[in-house]
Amino acid sequence: MKKVMQTSEFYVAIVVLALFLVIGSQSSAFFTITNLFDLIRSGIVPGIFVMCAMLVIISGGIDVSFPAIATFSMFCSTKILHSMHYDGPVLVAFLLSGLIGLCLGLINAVFISLFRLPTLIVTLGTSSMFSGFLLTFVGSSQISDLPKPLLTFSKEQIFKFTNDSGITVGLPVAVLVSLGVIVLVALLLRYTMMGRGIYALGGDAVSAQRIGFSPIRIQFFIYGFVGLMAGVAGMIHTTMMRNSNPVDLLGTELLIIAAVVLGGTRITGGHGTVLGSLLGLLLVITIQNSLILLGIPSYWQRFVIGALILIGTGVAAYQVKRSIMKRKSIVS
């Protein structure tokens, strides 16, 4: 029990719970199936993004290019399928988008692991490059008449409920894809050698190499995987919005990173859990969707999120600082 209480997930969970209770006590609309499903629905695409950002941060880097990759791959693949009037299984659309994302992710990996450039600056550069290329050479106007398989996919729902006022609410099937990705990442980090390698690389790159991990291979895997996942997430976004808009997702990266960091993942690498990141995301989404239920005007959102980042990371950093000082006093 004491061990549980020391984890940062515990504190995030308490904050989320408290926020839920406060909002719930102020507004009866909060604890309804409709609102719950709304929360989940708005977490489907960010859920995958959070996993991407978390993997990179655990490995000691930082990636701001995943929204650009997602946009690029979803728009390109929709455009390709649209121009050939595609009418086959929907899986192909996801594969295509994921494949494009994988290629873009590998471009990141080349700069980061072969040239050993700082990850933040590389991904800032590639993200500007990808979205610039997309909007100049591929197109800048949205595609609203999606290929038929994507449309049918977007209409399929699971967990259907009919609430009191007779409106049927359900979740898009895409929620299963997100769940799959989350489980996959959790298994990857917990049970595979690659997962151990990611933690080791983030903890200390030199020691990781000394004990036999190849940083280049791990980094290629991470950035490739992140690209692939971002591509899939982009496609999900397209099906959920029922159109493909090349500027939709851009600019969401900082909020996602904020969610990951709030969930206890250390920006210096080596620490972080799937559960924590999901809780962090839940916190951010709740603030975005439900702050208004508390009667707080929506223009306070940014302020609250900024304050949360500072407080959340501040508390963690302060604890680290104090424990270092404590250790020093024991040594001397």
Partner: protein, 350 residues
């Protein structure tokens, strides 16, 4: 790349790292020469492509109204990068300060004010903006040094925070209708030199003096190269970092004041793409993103190069998105070239 040394990860023990960055001084001077050549090549190229539009006095005047803003941002970014950190909140600070300045000038100024009265309020607005910039910067510095949050997270948070405050103050709307006198000064020229250009020159001078003529500059570079070593050689790391982020905040405030004059309005979410541009200019100008090195001359040349490139592309009527694409490619190319020449140098020494 065939050299096994080239593949081993960078040693991170304090001793070897400090010697590593000492060696960096040599190739970086060569990179200033390289930058100068790149600047000339871009200039000649753009002049060759569209001699009539590019090589006119009008185009130079319009250029000298454009680059001061991102040039000043680049200086702010440079200082924090030399210290080994990064400041993502500069655009947030600039927007917040411009909103404060604009609200002082617009809301407090009586309708029937005389010229001297409006000048007073303008000075008041400018002072308030600089003050707010300083406070914002100090807040960043405080969170980094006293609480111990990594710079990238602090400034990520304060970027949202400052922008959030700006949105709360304005309720998301733009403040328009500044005193005529202010926009006149901001868009005017002293003889043939536009006022923004003069502000930029002042910032160049200020940063140059700080980095090269004051002990602060040496301390900053030592801190950036190796904080442990600088601490043990008697540098007050906390104070240097606080100063750095405070100056960065003031520079951002100056950029905000220039923006207000140029757009005749203040908005909470203006120009977020300046962050990328500032990082691009700083890295291109030879600032080491890992900390410890940066030269004012490099920044000035990088600013001019990008402005030539941008104006030249404008003359060719390409879109803004294509420029984004170009910025990304230029940033990556410059970093790869710098890294390669560094490695060659290190290898030839060892």
């Amino acid at each position: 790349m065939t050299n096994p040394n080239g593949n081993s990860p960078e040693p991170i023990t304090p001793i070897s790292r400090s010697s590593f960055s000492l060696q960096r001084y040599l190739p970086q001077d060569a990179s200033i020469t390289r930058l100068f050549i790149i600047m000339l090549v871009v200039f000649v190229l753009m002049a060759g492509i569209s001699p009539n539009t590019f090589l006119s006095l009008d185009s130079f005047t319009s250029m000298s109204f454009q680059f001061p803003v991102f040039g000043i941002f680049a200086f702010a970014m440079m200082l924090s990068m030399i210290s080994g950190g990064i400041d993502l909140s500069i655009v947030g600070i600039a927007n917040l300060t411009s909103i404060i300045a604009a609200s002082v000038m617009v809301r407090m100024l009586p309708a029937e004010a005389s010229a001297s009265e409006s000048l007073l309020y303008i000075l008041l607005g400018v002072a308030a903006a600089l003050m707010v910039g300083l406070v914002c910067g100090l807040f960043n510095g405080f969170a980094i040094t006293k609480i111990g949050i990594p710079p990238i997270l602090v400034t990520l948070g304060t970027m949202q925070l400052f922008m959030g405050i700006a949105i709360i103050v304005t309720k998301g709307q733009a403040i328009v209708g500044l005193p005529e006198l202010y926009t006149k000064i901001g868009n005017g020229s002293l003889w043939i030199f536009p006022v923004p250009l003069l502000m930029f020159c002042l910032c160049i001078l200020g940063t140059y003096v700080l980095l090269n003529k004051q002990s602060y500059g040496m301390k900053l570079q030592m801190l950036g190269a190796n904080p442990t070593a600088s601490f043990f050689s008697g540098v007050n790391n906390t104070r240097v970092l606080l100063t750095t982020y405070a100056i960065s905040g003031v520079l951002a405030a100056i950029a905000g004041l220039v923006i207000v004059a140029q757009t005749n309005s203040a908005k909470a979410d203006y120009g977020t793409s300046y962050i990328l541009q500032a990082i691009l200019v700083a890295v291109m100008g030879g600032v080491d993103p890992r900390g410890g090195f940066g030269k004012v001359a490099g920044i000035v040349m990088a600013v001019l190069t990008l402005q030539f490139l941008s104006s030249g592309l404008n003359a060719l009527h390409v879109g803004n998105f294509f420029k984004d694409f170009m910025w990304g490619i230029v940033l990556l190319l410059v970093m790869v070239i710098n890294e390669w020449s560094n490695r060659r140098k290190v290898r030839s020494i060892s």
